[in-house]
């Protein structure tokens, strides 16, 4: 009978009548002495579970204490402060990224220099050097080993009243010249680079923005360097054999000062470097 109806009798586990006893055990209150031995055993067992700390129960105290010292003792510690701390920690390795940033800056300067060289806005000696090394238009007043028309722009420029002087031959809108000479890049034997859109898009804009580049090249304050002095070992042949020959890397141009921004006059989102590479594809 007892087995078929467990809990029917008060004080024995298994029925509704034991609920007050179970609540007392859960709340760790002393149970009546007359309760079932199983309840007493249960209460004793749970008292052991909720008993005082044993060795190992305080594990991690040092770590928690360190965390408290690090975080809670600071005034204003909050999630925002933690985020700020994490952010500052993540910024520490920025020192290691300085060389990368410097390299990027040099590369950007080199690209700008290249673009400026193709735009023909560099001072005369450097423009000449760029002409010899990377096929930029030659400076107008320096005698070029090639005919002057070689350096002419393949695209017609928009002449301005101030755009006169030595730049004018290079900006010749002569259609014959444009037909016979496909620009300095093609003159150096580059395949498929006959028309470089860089010059077509950027030269007029740069000419408009940088009037100094036109007039100042008449009488440059520095002597015109001999090409072989500028870059020893560079072949000055007008017909190099390969596309990579005589082409200095953008970052290796010997420009001792910040060059004008080559992208200043270019359409938004385009740079001469990008267009030059796009034309080769």
């Amino acid at each position: 009978m007892h087995g078929e109806m467990p809990g029917f009798f008060p004080g024995r586990p298994g029925g509704e009548h034991d609920e007050p006893l179970l609540d007392m055990i859960l709340e760790r209150r002393p149970i009546p002495p007359g309760a079932s031995p199983e309840f007493h055993g249960l209460a004793r067992m749970l008292a052991a579970v909720a008993g005082p700390a044993e060795p190992g129960d305080l594990a991690g105290q040092d770590a928690a204490h360190a965390a408290f010292t690090r975080l809670a003792s600071r005034p204003g510690t909050s999630h925002a402060a933690l985020r700020s701390a994490r952010r500052s920690l993540s910024e520490r390795p920025a020192r290691g990224r300085l060389p990368v940033a410097a390299a990027l800056a040099v590369a950007a300067a080199g690209l700008g220099s290249t673009a400026a060289a193709f735009a023909g806005v560099l001072p005369s000696p450097i423009q000449h050097f760029a002409h010899e090394t990377i096929g930029a238009p030659p400076p107008p007043h320096v005698a070029s080993p090639r005919p002057l028309t070689v350096a002419s722009s393949p695209m017609p420029r928009h002449p301005r009243p101030s755009d006169t002087g030595s730049r004018q031959p290079a900006a010749s809108p002569d259609p014959v010249s444009d037909k016979t000479h496909r620009g300095p890049l093609s003159a150096h034997g580059r395949k498929g680079h006959g028309a470089v859109p860089v010059r077509a898009t950027c030269v007029p804009a740069l000419g408009e923005d940088r009037g100094w580049a036109v007039g100042d090249t008449q009488n440059p304050p520095w002597p015109s360097p001999v090409p072989s002095q500028l870059k020893p070992g560079v072949t000055q042949s007008p017909t190099p054999s390969g596309p990579s020959q005589n082409r200095a890397s953008p970052g290796s141009l010997p420009f001792p000062w910040p060059l004008p921004l080559a992208t200043k006059g270019c359409p938004a989102g385009t740079t001469p470097y990008q267009e030059t590479h796009a034309s080769g594809r």
């Binding site: 586990p13 298994g14 034991d18 609920e19 179970l22 609540d23 055990i25 859960l26 709340e27 760790r28 079932s36 031995p37 199983e38 309840f39 007493h40 055993g41 249960l42 004793r44 067992m45 749970l46 052991a48 579970v49 909720a50 008993g51 005082p52 700390a53 044993e54 190992g56 129960d57 305080l58 594990a59 991690g60 105290q61 770590a63 928690a64 204490h65 965390a67 408290f68 010292t69 975080l71 809670a72 003792s73 600071r74 510690t77 909050s78 999630h79 933690l82």
Partner: protein, 183 residues
């Protein structure tokens, strides 16, 4: 339980008093670890994460000792759930889980628990219960939380918590009866 001095202790801990924080830690940590040993295979790690979160939010906490314990154990349960999800993502069976599966869960464990009445043996007996019942019993008995707080933590109604606790206790009492130990 710290009791009446808890408010002052907590206030001191908020101001950076390390002794006050140590007092709170020593009061709660044993119960926290025992609770975590029932519900997770990485109790020490989860306890550490719990305390870091507690320390972080200590200044924003408002309430008494019961509220503090309920808050802390709720954090612990969430961290344990996170640890469980992480463990599922890397399916490696922890050593202590393997050992737990090999523990006897019937009369032998009851005998051992009642003979030695050691905390560890009693906990092994509780771990033999269904997870929900074991967790609720630990929160009620070890953490000292009432049915309402436990209901909030486990996401059930207070009535359901009470029923589950009673079922677990009856099962434990049945094991004690099977052991035939008369105290």
């Amino acid at each position: 339980m710290i009791g009446g001095a808890f408010g002052v202790t907590l206030a001191n801990a908020r101001t950076g008093d390390e002794a006050a924080f140590a007092c709170i830690f020593r009061d709660v940590q044993p119960a926290l670890l025992r609770y975590l040993r029932v519900i997770t295979a990485e109790p020490e790690d989860v306890a550490g994460e719990t305390w870091i979160q507690v320390v972080t939010g200590l200044r924003r906490f408002r309430g008494g000792e019961q509220d503090f314990r309920a808050w802390l154990f709720a954090i612990a349960r969430n961290r344990a759930a996170d640890a469980g999800r992480s463990r599922h993502r890397r399916p490696v069976v922890p050593l202590d889980m393997t050992e737990a599966a090999q523990h006897p869960t019937t009369a032998d464990a009851a005998d051992q628990a009642l003979e030695a009445v050691s905390t560890q043996a009693a906990m092994e007996l509780i771990k033999s219960l269904p997870r929900e019942q074991a967790e609720i019993i630990m929160l009620r008995v070890v953490a000292g939380l009432d049915a309402g707080d436990v209901a909030k933590i486990v996401g059930k109604t207070p009535g359901a918590v009470r029923v589950a606790a009673h079922r677990g206790l009856r099962r434990l009492a049945g094991q004690v009866a099977q052991a035939g130990v008369t105290l």
